[in-house]
Amino acid sequence: MNLDLLFQYIAAGLTYGFIYAIVAIGFNIIYNTTGIINFAQGEFVMLGSMIAISLHPFMPLFPAIVLAVVITMLIGAIMEIAFFRWIESPTILRMIIITIGLSILIREAALAIWGENVRALPYFTGNEVTSVSILGARVSPQVLWVVGVCSVTVLALQAFFKFTRYGWQMRACAVNRDAARLCGIKAKNMVTLSFMLSAGIGALAGCVVSPITYSQYNMGVPLAIKGFTVAILGGLGNYLAAVAGGIVLGIIESFSVWVLPSAYKDSIAIGILLIILFFRPGGLFGSKEELALKEF
């Protein structure tokens, strides 16, 4: 294999990796404040891109994306207020089932609204055939957008949790909800905020990946499964590790195509998910002690 080809595979792997990572970050936010894995996370991604596509004919691309993100955040907030906020002492089983049910309903609603058609946002830069050459590998400029948005999101989240008041409060809730409440933090509002953040990031992810992957009412589930795998691979709740996990999975998938028939590509993610769950449930970068303190 020559060097150009090697870099091309790496570039493909990074493309997959960052797409998965940006979905995984959404999982982590809600998990951190509530301990819930939101099975409807993939639907936020779908909603964001579908709403942006619908808005795009009426306004330029970037306002459409911003508005789509805001609308999806509102949907996230409504979802939390309507379905989660008032449930007393929820069991995990119940939470899993509710998020699964929501995921189905949002998907079916999207089918009713947008139909089964495949749509896409236009490429942010260039068009379908544009590519830039990096170390001999040719990548679409949209991939650079995905990488950029993902990096900025992670940095912004780190800053938000480190330097802002709401960030501190959310972290406090993540550590110990009851203690946070005793300190006067409105824990319930923090949960709503985390749903909004997560929905917004999901929607943003949907918009940047839409030109590459296309958008359809049922795009959420496969992305959510990959995103969850990546979140676990890195260690649930850790944003930076999610990016690392995404890159690891993306590169493995990409090189698997080189050696194996590509029919196995998607089984590899599931295989990795099971191996991690069985042998290292804390993730590649998590510690066992930390894991023992958490509840699933």
Binding site: R94, I97, G101, E108
Partner: protein, 342 residues
């Protein structure tokens, strides 16, 4: 205990009553969908035991259903005619393991007796469930849900990617399953009533066995595990062992149901192993009240029957999603318990 026998009598009366009613109204074709619903309900009953009593979620039971259905479908449609003269085939044939039949187009097909197919289905599912159950059941909550989901997806991918399993087209022209001469599970139009009674009888036997299990030492141990695994462990219950046994049992029931429905339908497709199917089983168990065999059965019969009749039209999945959410929000104990004193 006595009450459950009354229930069984009522169940029998209802079965016969529905048959007579549909017959009197000239609508005995409803029995086709009722029979299919009975087989799907078996999966639900197994899952009630696993989810409701042992407290372990599984988002992969459609996988076991498919393992059952596909095992028997492959064995009873594979054509051994070209190898007819091989000693091993002759040996199998002389032992009664093989069956010769003629298909619709006049070709002669030598394949395994459905008995072999169904037994293989059940054994295979049991072994698979045992092997994956050991690591999977160590997990809890979300991780358990994801691991079982992962298992279901793997089964789906294997089915979809393997030529023996017919890939995306699935397997068609599966012959009927003759239990005894004169009693067979098949989709012929003139055996509807017989098949309805066979299916309802199998469900009845299953119900009886599960009720006894629940009221035994095992059932009490399971409830203890559901309440608190640590506490159960502390009083000396082998929690891992009980969870594994229930998991294997529910998988075997699902596979058995899959095998029988495949013979009744005359075929199976990869959709039977899809994630959505698994989610539907969970939805029904939840709607039936989690730890209620009768509730699960009634909900399953009604929802599956309506779905198979096409009453939900294009909103099939949406109905199941809505059922899930509404039940979990307003009646986590199940619809049938509404209004009952807690």
């Amino acid at each position: 205990m006595r009450r459950s026998y009354i229930h069984i009598l009522l169940y029998l009366a209802l079965i016969v009553g529905v048959d007579l009613l549909t017959h009197a109204l000239g609508k005995s074709y409803y029995l086709t969908q009722l029979t299919m619903s009975f087989y799907y309900s078996m999966v639900v009953l197994g899952l009630v035991l696993l989810m409701g009593y042992a407290g372990q979620i599984s988002l992969g039971h459609a996988g076991f259903f498919a393992i059952g259905g596909y095992s028997t479908a492959v064995l009873s449609t594979i054509n051994l005619m070209p190898y007819k003269e091989k000693p091993i085939i002759r040996l199998l044939e002389s032992m009664g393991f093989l069956l010769m039949r003629e298909d619709l187009y006049g070709a002669r097909i030598l394949s395994f007796n459905p008995w072999i197919g169904v037994i293989t289905a059940v054994v295979l599912a049991g072994v698979v469930a045992y092997l994956i159950g050991i690591p999977v059941l160590k997990l809890k909550g979300h991780y358990l849900a994801m691991a079982t989901l992962g298992f279901g997806i793997i089964v789906y991918r294997v089915v979809l990617g393997t030529p023996v399993f017919g890939e995306a087209d699935g397997i068609s022209d599966v012959p009927g399953f003759q239990i005894f001469p004169g009693l067979s599970i098949n989709g012929e139009m003139d055996t509807k009533r017989m098949n309805y009674y066979i299916a309802s009888a199998i469900v009845l036997v299953l119900l009886y066995l599960l009720m006894n299990l629940i009221n035994s030492r095992v059932g009490r141990a399971l409830r203890a595990i559901h309440g608190s695994e640590d506490a159960a462990e502390a009083v000396g219950i082998d929690t891992a062992g009980y969870k594994l046994r229930v998991f294997v049992l529910s998988a075997v029931i699902a596979a058995f149901a899959g095998a029988l429905l495949t013979h009744f339908n005359g075929g199976i497709g990869p959709g039977e192993s899809s994630v959505m199917k698994s989610v539907r089983y969970v939805a029904i168990v939840a709607a039936g009240g989690m730890a209620s065999l009768w509730g699960g059965l009634a909900t399953s019969m009604v929802l599956n029957f309506l779905s198979l009749r096409g009453y939900f039209g294009s909103y099939d999945d949406a109905v199941f999603g809505a059922v899930l959410i509404l039940i979990m929000l307003f009646a986590p104990e199940g619809i049938i318990k509404i209004g009952r004193r807690q």
